[in-house]
Symmetry: C2
Subunit: 307 residues, 2 copies
């Protein structure tokens, strides 16, 4: 009775092409589940059947809870039960989903009624555990749901409700993901870029925002064009060029890397032949001798109490 | 009697901070006026009291008309009467206003019913005469009115209706404008930039688009932050730092260079003390020993037949 709560938070895709470190979109492909239970022992413990660190200092959700306990000076011990469903290391916002669920669960458990920006900030602290640095694109999407624009200094999240007909096909290749994958996939991006390229990406990103605002899935899809990050990263994903080409040929409006990869995401609508697009992506990976899981999904609501 | 038409087109401000070469906004500060009259002699002639080239090949409006005659194979000669009101060389979209008025006037004169993108494309040809290269931010705003996002390859303009309460204070310094000003002010912008800076500008630009969509003038204003072009150009405008500081202190939400400058533009709403902001900008220029004209204005409709 008030001493236990379960929250689920969705997977998410970051960047959407040109919006590197700025755009995020919650997707209903997977949900992580976190149950917080108040304990009389003044300790934070983690219970899970998944292969993740159970030291709270090294666990995404654990770090969020430790930070929130410190900030709000709560006195109870807390047991964190974690059920991971978002595959980790595939660019689907796995750590962000756990972090978002943890932050929202703590907020509900103590009736804090924190605002969106605050919840995102706390959830962001959990990202440190996995990515080594704080990025808010995935956590903002996972906390708030829908499409988000992240501005920093100060943190200022703009949330936009996606068009109802927007659909995504995600292909998750069965690839051994290197440790520190995000760090590796960030290291290949040039630190200096051409002004001309930044103008191209900015104009496409602006069109994506207008597309979400106008509920125009086609405008969103055809603006998913990134001349900076995707070209620098695509060699890390065997078969990427073929997967993208196949998906576009099968009717996708736009295709890019989901977050830091290696998942590939195609944007379309519910009136497209989504199975055909998924199959085309699968065939693309097959040519590179890779098996993959394909998921047809839509935008998701944000982290919320499990019903 | 169908052989003569007069069209006016508004001044405009390009960039709005982070949206270099992508964003444009039509403003009702000034309107250029173009009257086209069909003539039996198969020549294009220019009539004007203003100090502008009267050789059609070297005149902004003239170039637009020559191109359109060629494209649509019209047989008449045309007299172009030009009344310039937008001051040339101050970052107020002067050549774009003439080009926009010329393109729309030709369209009306021959009942072509061209689409927005086409009109912008033809008007853009006039920009060559003044800027030496085609940029569509000002012409798109001047043709279509309101706020525009320009995407190229292929040209694709997204128009958004601005919030009704949005107001701008523009300070036009009395400064001898160098010939080829746009070329000079482009030459100071680095060709390579930091990825980090491009992310900052892209996030602010995305917020500006969301602000125009949500009719949120405050969000637009506080997102007018440019860490790439403004820092590189501001030394070309004596007193800029003081003008900006003063305007912000007087209540402006955001301040930046209008287009390629030297005009400075402050963004606010009709409930702000706009006279105070204008005076603060004037005082800023005074410290740099520069007199300036200040104009309080609002977004404008696009090029249209004079009533």
């Amino acid at each position: 009775m008030g001493s236990k709560i379960t929250v689920i938070a969705p997977s998410s895709t970051a960047n959407l092409g040109p919006g590197f470190d700025v755009f995020g979109l919650a997707v209903d492909a997977f949900y992580d589940e976190i149950t917080l239970t108040k304990r009389t022992t003044k300790k934070v413990t983690i219970v899970t059947d998944d292969e993740i660190p159970i030291n709270p200092e090294k666990n995404t959700a654990g770090l969020v809870i430790l930070n929130m306990i410190k900030k709000f000076k709560t006195k109870d011990g807390i047991e964190i039960k974690i059920k991971k469903n978002v595959p980790a290391g595939y660019g689907m916002g796995s750590s962000a989903a756990s972090a978002a669920a943890a932050a929202v669960a703590f907020d509900k458990l103590y009736h804090l009624k924190l605002k969106g920006n605050s919840l995102v900030e706390f959830a962001g602290m959990g990202e440190k555990a996995s990515a080594g640095a704080v990025h808010y694109d995935n956590v903002a999407a996972s906390v708030l749901g829908g499409f988000v624009i992240v501005r920093k200094n100060p943190l200022d999240i703009i949330k936009i409700e996606p068009p109802k007909d927007l659909r995504m096909c995600i292909a998750v290749p069965r690839l051994a993901v290197p440790k520190k994958k995000t760090k590796v996939s960030r290291s290949v991006i040039p630190k200096k870029i051409k002004l001309e390229d930044s103008i191209t990406n900015l104009s496409n990103a602006s069109a994506i925002v207008a597309g979400f605002m106008n509920k125009d899935s086609q405008l969103i899809g055809r603006s998913i064009k990134d001349v900076i990050v995707e070209p620098a990263r695509q060699h890390l994903i065997p078969g990427f060029v073929g997967v993208k080409k196949n998906a576009l040929k099968a009717g996708a409006f736009g295709v890019t890397i989901s977050g830091a990869g290696p998942s590939v995401i195609a944007f379309s609508t519910n009136s497209s032949n989504l199975k055909k697009i998924s199959l085309a992506m699968k065939n693309g990976f097959k040519i590179a001798d890779l098996d993959c899981q394909t998921i047809i999904c839509k935008p998701s609501y944000g982290a919320s109490v499990k019903k």
